[in-house]
């Protein structure tokens, strides 16, 4: 598939638009260790883009670069055609890029509802004084946001645990709540760091369904990291394969599956 900046329609009728985010020649080092070495790829509007690779390939580092937790020493990040300056994570979040974490970062002491409500913070405009003085306006804003959050809760089928403190939930549900919090911010780009790690088959199927539905119903662009090759091949439109910080493959699941470098990396051929 040749890279053109034109939209196309997939077999199942979803529209994939132009380039939403582009990583250009990204290099990231920690002291002497090179975590990412000169990697370029793009993410198109409306697609599900997977980043795969063996342990320690630099996948999570890449996600952290996109979400502003890490700052690459070389290379540029382009968002909607514009070069993005070095940003703090909260600024990136305010641009409409939401994320989940590999080992779950939720507010354990708060209820499921409150956790997902925090996803709306970037959309709440009234300041502190305004909230104190025009109580009615702040209340209206709260109600509007609350309605959206309730839709997310319905969508993820977690109505039954709305008021439960997150700390008491089992792992699989926590993952779902974290996805809900990211969804509540109505992101333009949703980053998922191993959304199915540590789940059983049934939970994996549920999560896959949610990811596909999010993409299908809201048209959200999704970039995800995943270990499970089978899942990735079913879910994604295009796949980037990383190994030892380098990109060794990029294309449709079909293309990647037949790529000799990728096969070697996964089967563990000795590196020279």
């Amino acid at each position: 598939m040749k890279d053109t900046n034109e939209s196309r329609v997939t077999e199942d009728g979803r529209t994939i638009g132009g380039i939403l985010m582009e990583m250009r020649n990204i290099t990231l080092r920690f002291g002497g260790v090179v975590a990412i070495k000169d990697i370029s790829f793009d993410i198109r509007e409306g697609e599900i883009r997977a980043i795969i690779g063996p342990n320690g390939a630099g996948k999570s580092s890449m996600l952290n670069v996109i979400s502003g937790f890490y700052h690459p020493q070389e290379g540029d990040v382009f968002f909607r055609g514009e070069k993005r300056p070095a940003m703090k994570p909260y600024q990136v979040a305010n641009m409409g890029i939401a994320r989940t974490f590999q080992n779950i970062a939720l507010f354990e002491g708060m209820s499921v509802l409150d956790n997902i409500m925090t996803g709306r913070l970037t959309h709440m405009k009234s300041g502190m004084l305004a909230q104190a003085i025009w109580w009615g306006k702040a209340e209206r804003e709260e109600i509007e946001n609350r309605e959206l959050v309730e839709r997310v809760i319905d969508f993820l089928e977690i109505q039954a645990i709305r008021k439960t403190p997150v700390g008491r939930l089992p792992y699989g549900l926590k993952k779902r709540v974290e996805l809900g919090r990211a969804l509540a911010s109505e992101p333009k780009l949703l980053l998922l760091d191993e959304p199915m790690a540590g789940m059983n088959v049934e939970e994996k199927e549920d999560m896959s369904r949610f990811i596909l539905d999010v993409n299908d119903e809201f048209g959200t662009t999704i970039a995800l990291i995943e270990h499970d090759m089978g899942v990735v091949m079913d879910l994604s439109d295009r796949v980037v394969v990383m190994d030892y910080g380098k990109k060794i493959g990029d294309g449709t699941p079909e293309e990647v599956r037949n790529n000799q470098d990728v096969i070697d990396a996964y089967l563990g051929v000795a590196h020279d």
């Binding site: 994570p89 979040a93 939401a98 994320r99 939720l106 925090t118 913070l121």
Partner: protein
């Protein structure tokens, strides 16, 4: 009713009122601890600094007068004007917010992700710095603070209780006001943290920094906000204590009384700070009244700490603190 019992009731009431003042200081500790996990040793000194600044502004004192005079050989001490209490309180609040900003900008943001003990040490440093700064800015003599709060015997209560029991209770007007103020503060802070956007962000930061960043919360902003609120609580505590016993440097020692209050109430609970304060207040007054004479008095100095020690042994998370669960 026997005299002893009546007297004990009066002592209890007075203890409750004193407890409210302890609780006011403890409240400032809880706020910062909840939001950033820092035990702010400087909270008591912040109350002192706020009270000093308030008196200084009201009396039109020139800040750093001694320093200026020493350098330039001048003899200025006051601007020669009096600032009305309300305006002075607003100005002091602005100073406290500026202080919060400076603490964040010059100290705390350089210590992100450090061990709690290091942050704690930083606040000890901050406490002594503030004490010195207060001294340098406003001088070290004991000052009288009068923002127009009524003080002295509450005649209504005296009359009423005299009518009921034939013995009038002595309740200080200032203590009644402190109680009302503390109640309003607690309700206000609870509503703020539960229902406002900033409150939710504040709880989020307290819970998980990384997650908070990922939903678009600026940690710096939240910390300045928290230290500002703690500064505001310190100002309220400073006004109450300053009016009661004069603005003097021993005021910063009341911070130490807040420690047992926190151990009782739990470091993370706003209602806990209030209840803890009340228990310590009543406990030490009653203990002094009932047991004091048998052991030679002066029990108020140590009673609170012994009580706190007992709590540490039997219920380390305090009455209202988050339960400590060990997962294996």
């Amino acid at each position: 009713m026997p005299d002893q019992l009546l007297y004990a009731m009066e002592v209890t009431l007075n203890g409750l009122m004193a407890g409210v003042l302890y609780a006011l200081v403890a409240l400032g500790f809880v706020l910062i601890f909840k939001a950033s996990g820092i035990f702010n040793y400087a909270q008591g000194v912040m109350a002192l600094f706020a009270a000093l600044t308030l008196v200084g502004i009201m009396e039109g004192q020139v800040p750093f007068a001694n320093l200026i005079n020493a350098i330039f050989g001048t003899e200025i001490h006051t601007f020669g004007w009096q600032v009305p209490a309300v305006l002075a309180i607003v100005l002091t609040l602005l100073v406290m917010i500026l202080l919060a900003w400076c603490v964040q900008k010059f100290v705390m943001r350089h210590l992100v992700n450090q061990e709690p003990i290091i942050l704690f040490m930083a606040t000890i440093g901050l406490a002594y710095f503030l004490e010195g700064l207060g001294d340098l800015m406003w001088g070290s003599d004991i000052k009288k603070l009068d923002v127009g709060l009524p003080q002295g015997l509450n005649a209504t209560i005296d009359d009423l209780t005299y009518g009921w029991f034939g013995y009038g209770f002595f309740i200080d007007n200032l203590d009644i006001i402190a109680t009302v103020v503390a109640a309003v503060l607690v309700i206000g802070l609870t509503v703020f943290s539960q229902y406002s956007k900033q409150g939710r962000a504040l709880r989020a930061v307290a819970d998980d920094h990384q997650a908070a960043l990922s939903v678009g919360i600026s940690l710096n902003y939240i910390w300045v906000l928290v230290w500002s609120i703690a500064g505001f609580v310190a100002l309220v505590a400073g006004i109450m204590w300053g009016t009661k016993s004069g603005v003097q440097f021993s005021l910063s020692l009341i911070a130490l009384k807040a420690l047992p209050v926190l151990m009782l109430g739990g470091f993370t609970s706003i209602p806990g700070a209030i209840v803890g304060g009340l228990i310590i207040g009543v406990g030490e007054k009653l203990f002094e009244f009932l047991i004091g004479p048998m052991v030679g008095g002066a029990t108020e100095n140590w009673f609170a700490y012994v009580l706190a020690l007992l709590f540490l042994v039997f219920r380390p998370q305090g009455l209202f603190g988050e339960k400590i669960i060990e997962r294996v």
